[in-house]
């Protein structure tokens, strides 16, 4: 049986779900960031799947969007990790449960 | 039909025409089609032949080159090199291989089991996978992707992760120090590699390795004539990527014993050595394909088989790494970093800008290639010299007092000759 658009969309959805679960449940800030990266990838898969299967005037716009997503994700990862290191330096921990005091 | 490009091109020469092994594979595929095999079989067969060919070639040429390197470095060092095992010491690599195979593979107690076991295997991946894209002959390329150059850089970047895994998992202070040094160095030189290869792609305006070799064949000017700076930068970045002198920071024997592969014994350590040589061949192959005209030699490839020329150039270029290993001392890590970020990157950015300008001028006015390319060659070589020396002066690398000063000869005793530096314990020369 052939592999259609739905297969890739389901794959993207599953990856997105795993990413959200990771982001919501993990205690370590770096693990949360890994979840976010996974979500970005899920979105990328969906974009590319659409640009491959769906009829459109310029099919490769999906790819251009994925390029933008990759750059933004890289920038976001850098800043988020810098924040994590800074939080670690001030609070000696990056365990999200403990970073809940607003009196910074 | 998969692999139709194997059937395309000039009328398929006889399968026994070994000037391009692609003919033989093409003949085999034709034979399979006549027998009416399933549609995917030729795909699998040619893929397997390619993979097995690359594997066998890289392992056996590594064995030969271990011997060649030790003899050549010995020749540079006024000594003989291995000559005990077998005639002229030719069996020395076999002896080494047997020794490495029979040695016991120790795993440190609190090592990170999974990563410790995985990294020797993974260290071979980037070294071997790069060869999938490199054309040994006109139709002898496993997968001629049209993002070939980007593929080479991407596979090179996996090396960083594997080095870190090796250093982190052997849970020993020296390995971690070596691993972190190497990772930081590999990242900064990845950028240098990208810019050096970008300068080539600007000229050939295609990332497909076959197209790049084709461009160099059509205009029969090698890209090294037009882009000398990019080649020099890539050689240095290549030397960094495979940890060879003058940049063997990873296993700087005299400093932190053996860097990230200290804790590995037996065949695991052997895999690291094998990967280092195969990665060296990969870098040499990339340089030959991108800058030195790949398997073409201004028409000679009609008679001499293309892949022979390619291997000749590859081994010839690999000699440069051996020569560097025999003569140059090692740079410190921060000097290497400073050299990459402060010196090489600005230089290469300017180089890519100039290459873009030149191609723009060439395409806009549609000059004839014979007139324009030699002019570009001369201009680029002169510019390369001016840029290298000028930027060196600006950054102070070539400032007079950095040059060696001979000691002052004195006849009588007791004279204190120099006013001591401000007494900073053990500090280095204050940056003037």
């Amino acid at each position: 049986m052939s592999v259609g658009l739905e297969h890739f969309l389901v794959l993207g959805a599953v990856l997105f779900a795993i990413g959200i679960y990771l982001a919501l449940t993990k205690r370590n800030a770096v693990a949360v960031l890994m979840g976010i990266e996974l979500m970005f990838n899920a979105v990328n898969v969906t974009f590319v799947a659409f640009s491959r299967f769906v009829e459109s005037a310029s099919p490769l716009t999906g790819h251009v969007f994925v390029v933008f997503i990759i750059t933004v994700a890289a920038a976001e990862a850098a800043v988020a990790l810098a924040l994590a290191v800074l939080v670690y330096r001030n609070r000696e921990t990056i365990n999200i449960d403990e970073i809940n005091l607003l009196k910074w | 039909m998969p692999f139709d490009w194997l059937r395309a091109g000039p009328p398929l020469a006889e399968w026994w025409d070994l000037r391009d092994l692609g003919n033989a594979v093409g003949g085999l595929l034709g034979w399979i089609d006549d027998r009416g095999g399933p549609s995917w079989l030729p795909y699998v067969v040619s893929g397997l032949i390619g993979i097995v060919g690359i594997l066998l070639w890289s392992v056996f040429s590594q064995l030969f080159f271990v011997w060649a390197e030790r003899r050549l470095v010995a020749r540079i060092q006024v000594r003989l090199g291995p000559n005990r095992a077998g005639p002229l010491g030719l069996l020395q690599p076999v002896a080494d291989a047997l020794k490495v195979l029979t040695k016991e593979m120790i795993t440190p107690r609190n090592a990170d089991r999974l990563l410790f076991w995985a990294s020797p295997i993974l260290v071979m991946v980037p070294a071997l996978v790069v060869f999938a894209v490199l054309p040994f002959g006109e139709r002898m390329v496993l997968a001629d992707l049209n993002v070939g150059v980007l593929f080479v850089i991407a596979i090179g970047s996996i090396n960083t992760i594997v080095v870190f895994m090796a250093g982190w998992s052997s849970s020993n202070k020296f390995s971690l120090l070596g691993a972190m040094r190497t990772v930081a160095m590999l990242i900064s030189y990845e950028l240098v590699q990208v810019l050096a290869l970008l300068a080539v792609v600007v000229f050939t305006n295609s990332m497909r390795m076959g197209a790049i070799v084709g461009w160099q064949d059509d205009f029969n000017t090698w890209i090294v004539f037009v882009q000398p700076l990019a080649l020099l930068a890539y050689i240095f970045a290549g030397a960094v990527e495979i940890n060879r002198t003058p940049t063997d920071i990873a296993e700087a024997e005299s400093e932190i014993v053996a860097g990230y592969h200290t804790e590995y014994g037996g065949i695991r350590w052997g895999m690291f050595q094998l990967a280092e040589y195969v990665a060296g061949f990969a870098i040499a192959a990339i340089v030959v394909t991108m800058y030195l005209g790949g398997w073409t030699l201004w028409g000679l490839e009609e008679w001499v088989p293309g892949w022979l020329i390619f291997l000749g150039k590859l081994y010839g270029f690999f000699f440069v790494f051996i020569w560097m290993r025999g003569t140059l001392p090692r740079l410190r890590v921060d000097q290497l970093m400073g050299f990459a970020w402060k010196y090489l990157l600005p230089l290469l950015l300017v180089n890519v800008l100039l290459a873009g300008l030149e191609v723009l001028i060439w395409q806009e006015n549609g000059f004839a290639a014979e007139a324009v390319l030699p002019a570009f060659a001369v201009a680029n070589w002169a510019l390369a010299v001016v840029l290298v020396v000028g930027w060196g002066q600006v950054l102070g690398h070539l400032r007079p007092e950095h040059r060696a000063k001979r000691p002052v000869l004195v006849k009588e005793v007791g004279a204190i000759l120099y006013e001591p530096y401000p007494l900073r314990p053990g500090g280095s020369v204050p940056e003037a």
């Binding site: 449940t25 370590n28 491959r52 920038a75 | -």
Partner: protein
């Protein structure tokens, strides 16, 4: 996408990607989690190859399997005494049903609506088309993205620099 080769490839790559993504959730040691994350990113790169997006597949390997994990590893290195385990937070329990519900809705939408399927095969050459698009119709976002990268780089350096 009908010949048997790509079907086999799809299922293996999908299994690899989802499997290693689940391992990232399950495994205790944070460094192992990063390794499995890299594995799933490489799986996604394979999926891109299946969807004949060759430029994106290679860019994915270069950035997601070469650069971002190194960032994550440096972050883990710079936070030595922080909990290096991959444990769940205390209030993790309600997350499972929420995620399940979200997944169900997305999948139902994906399967129910009939997308205007295109009849053409994969793309031959994507790099040059992406390049053209980036510098012609999308030149503004391209410039904004470069400014954003510059800002992110400076921000990260200033945050972490201890003078």
């Amino acid at each position: 996408m009908d010949d048997s080769g790509s079907v086999v490839a799809f299922w293996t790559l999908a299994a690899l990607t989802v499997g290693s993504a689940l391992m990232v959730v399950a495994v205790r040691n944070l460094v192992h989690a990063v390794v499995y994350l890299i594995l799933s990113f490489v799986g996604v790169a394979g999926i891109f190859v299946l969807l004949s997006a060759d430029f994106l597949a290679v860019a994915q390997v270069l950035i997601y399997a070469g650069a971002i994990p190194v960032l994550i590893i440096f972050a883990i290195m710079l936070t030595p005494r922080a909990a290096r385990d991959n444990a769940e937070t205390s209030l993790g329990l309600p997350a499972l049903p929420l995620v399940g519900a979200l997944l169900a809705t997305i999948i139902s939408i994906a399967v129910v609506t009939d997308w205007p399927e295109a009849t053409r095969g994969g793309f031959e050459e994507t790099t040059s088309v992406i390049g053209e698009a980036l510098l012609s119709t999308y030149v503004l976002p391209f410039e904004i993205a470069s400014v954003l990268l510059l800002a992110a780089m400076l921000g990260a350096i200033i945050l972490v620099r201890e003078d």
